[in-house]
């Protein structure tokens, strides 16, 4: 087999000389510059892999003048030689082929590992976001009840100063009565508050505090409508949505920090702690679970639907109630709710024994 080689040896230029080489069954023959052939028996020839990236084969031997090396870089010729090796070099060439294959595998593995190393934080981030609800649920469930109550107390203290609480009215009693019906058997001890505020809203604070705006009581036409909203708010507490939101924002911050370096972390964490707006998913969750509680307490679910419809009408105006800002679109919520009610089938309903006009009058 004939091939073009870059050859090195005594008397050849130090940068190598392009010479024709020929391999037959017993000899490697090099045609030197002056057309003089240099023949060496294959039994004296060693084969090695080398060069930048191990792509070069070297046929090496020594004579009295020094060491010779005939290099072969062309991959096609290498393959041809591997397919039909001269008998004397068969074992050596097989070894060389094996070395090259092993080097390629090692490269692939190494680059793969390197890629994985750099991709790992990104993969972690994706996994975290993918399984966010499971992970945050788990994290939130690890928080002891006492800690949650302490946290809730802190939030309540800061909120309290901005509220104009209404006390000892028929409305307080109604909210507490209906609330008690919805929280039977709960591990939380609930506190119910009414605050003078004309926006249609109610909110829950971790640890079992629910605050109802007077605007909500005025807008509700029946006690069942109030019960619908309370059922929803209670579920925010029962499902620890605040803690989950906190875990999620902290976890996301940590993961983002790992991937992109410092995101001026503490400031952002503090900001997200203060915001703590429930995610839309948490709202849907609270809607669905709230409905289940209404069923358990034998309360008419149409109240919840009507309340949402009132909210929807309100939000068509220029000033949507503050409550809607972090919530799903009302139309979507109503549709979902109706679907869920149809699915659950009708259940025996006990009208709530509340003198509603008197309650409304007490907060006017």
């Amino acid at each position: 087999m004939q091939f073009q080689s870059l050859s090195y040896g005594p008397g050849l230029p130090p940068g190598g000389s392009r010479l024709a080489a020929r391999l037959d069954s017993f000899h490697l023959t090099l045609t030197l510059a002056d057309a003089r052939p240099l023949s060496v028996p294959l039994t004296q020839v060693q084969v090695a892999v080398g060069g930048f990236n191990d792509t070069v084969w070297r046929f090496e031997w020594s004579d009295s003048q020094g060491r010779w090396a005939v290099t072969l870089e062309d991959p096609a010729t290498q393959q041809a030689l591997l397919a039909q090796p001269p008998a004397a070099l068969a074992a050596a060439l097989a070894g060389v082929g094996k070395t090259q294959r092993r080097a390629r595998t090692r490269t692939r593995l190494g680059l793969g590992a390197l890629g994985l190393w750099f991709a790992l934080p990104v993969l972690l981030l994706v996994a975290l976001l993918w399984n966010a609800s499971t992970l945050t649920g788990w994290a939130a469930s690890r928080v002891p009840l006492k800690t949650e109550q302490k946290l809730g107390e802190m939030v309540w203290k800061s909120q309290k100063t901005q509220l104009r609480l209404v006390e000892n009215t028929a409305a307080n009693a109604a909210v507490a009565t209906i609330g008690a019906k919805l929280t039977q058997g709960s591990r939380y001890s609930y506190r119910w508050f009414v605050t003078r505020d004309h926006s249609i809203n109610a909110f829950a604070i971790p640890g079992g505090t629910v605050v109802v705006h007077t605007g909500l009581i005025e807008a509700a036409k029946t006690p069942e409508e109030l019960a619908g909203v309370l059922a929803h708010e209670v579920q925010h507490i029962e499902q620890r949505h605040s803690l989950r939101a906190m875990a999620q924002s902290l976890g996301t911050m940590a993961a983002l920090g790992m991937v992109f370096g410092d995101v001026s972390g503490i400031a952002q964490i503090a900001a997200s702690l203060s915001q703590l707006s429930y995610s839309r998913d948490a709202e849907r969750d609270a809607d669905a679970r709230g409905l289940a509680v209404l069923k358990a307490a034998a309360i008419d679910p149409q109240g919840m639907v009507r309340m949402f419809e009132t909210l929807g009408k309100e939000s068509e105006g220029l000033n949507p109630p503050a409550m809607l800002s972090s919530h799903p679109a009302t139309a979507e919520r109503i549709a979902r709710l109706k679907e869920a009610i149809a699915e659950a089938g009708s259940w025996p309903v006990q009208p709530l024994a509340v003198d509603w006009p008197a309650v409304q009058a007490s907060v006017r």
């Binding site: 090195y8 040896g9 940068g15 070297r58």
Partner: protein
């Protein structure tokens, strides 16, 4: 592929420039920003890619330009062509920092030269600038040159520049040379490039030579630089109090940490 045969003359000792003499119609390609002067009759043109005729079509050119970008060159190459009717005209290219320019006649090294990123200065038109991707993980990480080196291919003359004094060493078959990882400038493809751990923890930590040597094994020719730019920059920064003296030697993980640390700042100062 016909290459332009160019004549050249090197000026200076350790802040060199190379003056290339072009016959009518001949052209040279230069690294962006390297041109020092050019005579009447030489027209400068900017081409996308490396100006070699190997790259056919739009995608070929785009690939060539991408490769140049990876090796730290610009997307465009500047071509200097003698478009005058007769006579010889000169264009000169200057080295960007103290060092030596070496002319390499590519046919003398088997047609391909692998060199350090950024070391290309200029060449006869037709020399292709490609990348040689380092497939050995250890060498890529600790060999001092990273995973990407530059590959010059063709039949013409190319000029490579590196820091300090350049040393050409012809390795005989099987001969090995252990080199500081920052000092490799260029080598033939037949030269094996690997790394070797210094061997002793004590040396790794306190010799200041870094954790690894580069091991070059012949046959073939290698070029070494006596002063890697990063080493000089390091000394300049260390000597500049305004910059805080933070330093990191090339190829040395712990050396960088030690001199960058508080203790190093006190012990390692050499003002």
């Amino acid at each position: 592929m016909a290459m332009d045969v160019i004549d050249y003359k090197l000026y200076g000792e350790d802040m060199q420039f190379v003056e290339i003499e072009l016959d009518p119609g001949e052209a040279a390609i230069g690294e962006a920003g390297a041109m020092m002067f050019m005579e009447d009759g030489i027209v400068m043109d900017t081409v996308f890619g490396d100006g070699s005729s190997q790259q056919k079509g739009f995608w070929g050119k785009l690939a060539g330009a991408g490769k140049r970008l990876v090796t730290g060159e610009g997307l465009f190459t500047t071509v200097f062509q003698h478009q005058g009717p007769s006579g010889k005209r000169k264009v000169a290219f200057a080295a960007p920092y103290p060092g030596t320019i070496i002319p390499v006649n590519l046919p003398d090294v088997g047609g391909t030269l692998i060199c350090q990123k950024d070391s290309f200065l200029c060449a006869a038109k037709g020399v292709a600038l490609g990348i040689a991707f380092q497939r050995k993980l250890g060498v890529g990480l600790f060999g001092g040159e990273g995973f990407i080196m530059q590959k010059l291919e063709g039949d013409g003359l190319a000029f490579v520049h590196a820091g300090g004094t350049l040393y050409r060493r012809d390795l005989k078959p099987g001969e090995t040379l252990r080199v500081d990882t920052g000092c490799i400038v260029a080598m033939q493809t037949s030269v094996s490039f690997d790394i070797q751990y210094v061997g002793k923890l004590k040396s790794a930590l306190f010799s200041g030579e870094g954790l690894f040597y580069a091991v070059l094994q012949g046959p073939g020719t290698v070029w070494l630089q006596s002063l890697p730019l990063s080493r000089m920059a390091n000394r300049i920064v260390m000597a500049a109090p305004a910059l805080g003296g933070r330093s990191q030697d090339q190829g040395s993980l712990l050396g960088g940490l030690a001199t960058g640390g508080l203790l190093g700042g006190m012990l390692g100062g050499d003002e």
